[in-house]
Symmetry: C2
Subunit: 251 residues, 2 copies
């Protein structure tokens, strides 16, 4: 097998609502002397997708309700309007302790603050929300890239999530098109005849994590190309990662 | 920034207790026409480290105690001897439900079955345990590689862990030498003056995840080189990832 390359797509401009994100990515690639190839996987940070889609809320437009006000009373460093937005983006609060708010988003993802982010929003008193349907966003990016370049690529939309038990954040996949979420090794036997312990690898999450290796030292590098991984033809949405509550020991 | 390359080190032989793991890696590299460079990061699967270190137990040598026997009574598909070994490798049981056993290892990692693995153990009725001190194992590999090649590299020892809330396993770092566990962005401000939401990225976990992108389709490819990521001079152990129980909302 050949090496896999992670290629940073640097030099993207600030993305604004209504921007043609695919056009901005292709222009950045051209400036870098790079071009998409079939079977490349494009890793795209959620924030630029959300901004292009206009998934922003101004704090001035928000009136916090009783639950947000109660929570802000328990954690004075929190803005009740931001808490209200997080609740709006959530189907359920998983934990609310010491000012840490872990919720389940409407997509089913469990993460801090429902992915609502005040940093790099592009305007004061504005927050960025997760895309309404990140899998659909990934599919739309994939189709637009195919229409404009003739290349068939995979797309992973990423966000940075914390983890239970482990310090630090990692990039994970919240939207997928054109590659599997899980690679299954079910039923494969090792040389002694035992079924392999690890049966499902979260390959799109690992693509997301890998893209951070080139994005970490660069300002404004929301996109990376993962080249050479042979994504295969199977496509699964990122909602495949949502563990059903009845199988979840930690929800 | 240049691309980061993930290079599979394929063609390793079966590793046995007492084997010279560094010698086996260097021989595989020579066969591939590859050589280590300064600032490469070597990602090494835990299983070959544990095997070289003799971290194996034969089930015939194990007498299950009352707790293991009680648990085997609750989950008849489980071998009481394996359960006893998992308990021996654990400081605490975090969850035991539906035959799923999540424990805290003596290192502090929370994972299924304390990392004890029956597959690919190299012999029937034998299980592989995690290294006693994976950070020390990583440091020893790093020093041996420096002594024998003159190159200064980073080393990450990986295992495949499940996650709370998300389906699928990912490769994570359980031992680190020569690179940071966390890259801190504390106090950095975005253009609007807000502190960045993501303050600590688990960079060695992301190295571990990236290495899976080349290992997934190959038999017996326990080692990969991550080249071009500029690991920097700071070194932190993988135990940095262990969230203190008093800060952990899910333990």
């Amino acid at each position: 097998m050949r090496p896999v390359s992670i290629i940073p797509v640097s030099g993207m401009p600030e993305v604004r609502p209504g921007d043609d994100l695919v056009g901005l990515v292709l222009a950045a690639l051209t400036r870098l002397g790079e071009a998409l190839r079939d079977d490349d996987v494009l890793s795209v940070a959620q924030k630029v997708v959300s901004k292009a889609e206009g998934r922003l809320r101004r704090l001035d437009d928000v009136t916090p309700g009783p639950e947000a006000l109660r929570m802000a009373g328990e954690a004075p460093e929190k803005d009740a309007r931001v808490l209200q937005i997080v609740l709006d983006e959530s189907s359920r609060v998983v934990r609310w302790e010491h000012g840490v708010l872990i919720t389940e988003t409407h997509h089913g993802f469990v993460c801090a603050n429902a992915g609502v982010d005040r940093s790099n929003a592009g305007a004061a008193d504005t927050v960025v929300l997760l895309p309404v349907d990140p899998d659909a966003s990934a599919a739309a990016l994939r189709e637009a890239l195919r229409a404009r370049t003739g290349r068939t690529v995979g797309v992973v939309i990423t966000d940075t999530f914390g983890r239970a038990w482990r310090e630090g954040h990692v990039n994970v996949a919240i939207g997928i098109a054109g590659l599997p979420a899980l690679e299954r090794y079910l039923g494969q036997l090792d040389p002694q005849g035992y079924e392999l312990r690890v049966t499902e690898m979260a390959i799109a999450d690992e693509v997301a994590a890998a893209s951070e290796l080139v994005q970490r030292k660069l300002d404004r590098c929301p996109v990376a190309i993962v080249r050479g991984m042979e994504p295969g033809g199977r496509s699964e949405p990122a909602t495949t990662y949502v563990r059903p509550p009845e199988r979840d020991l930690f929800r």
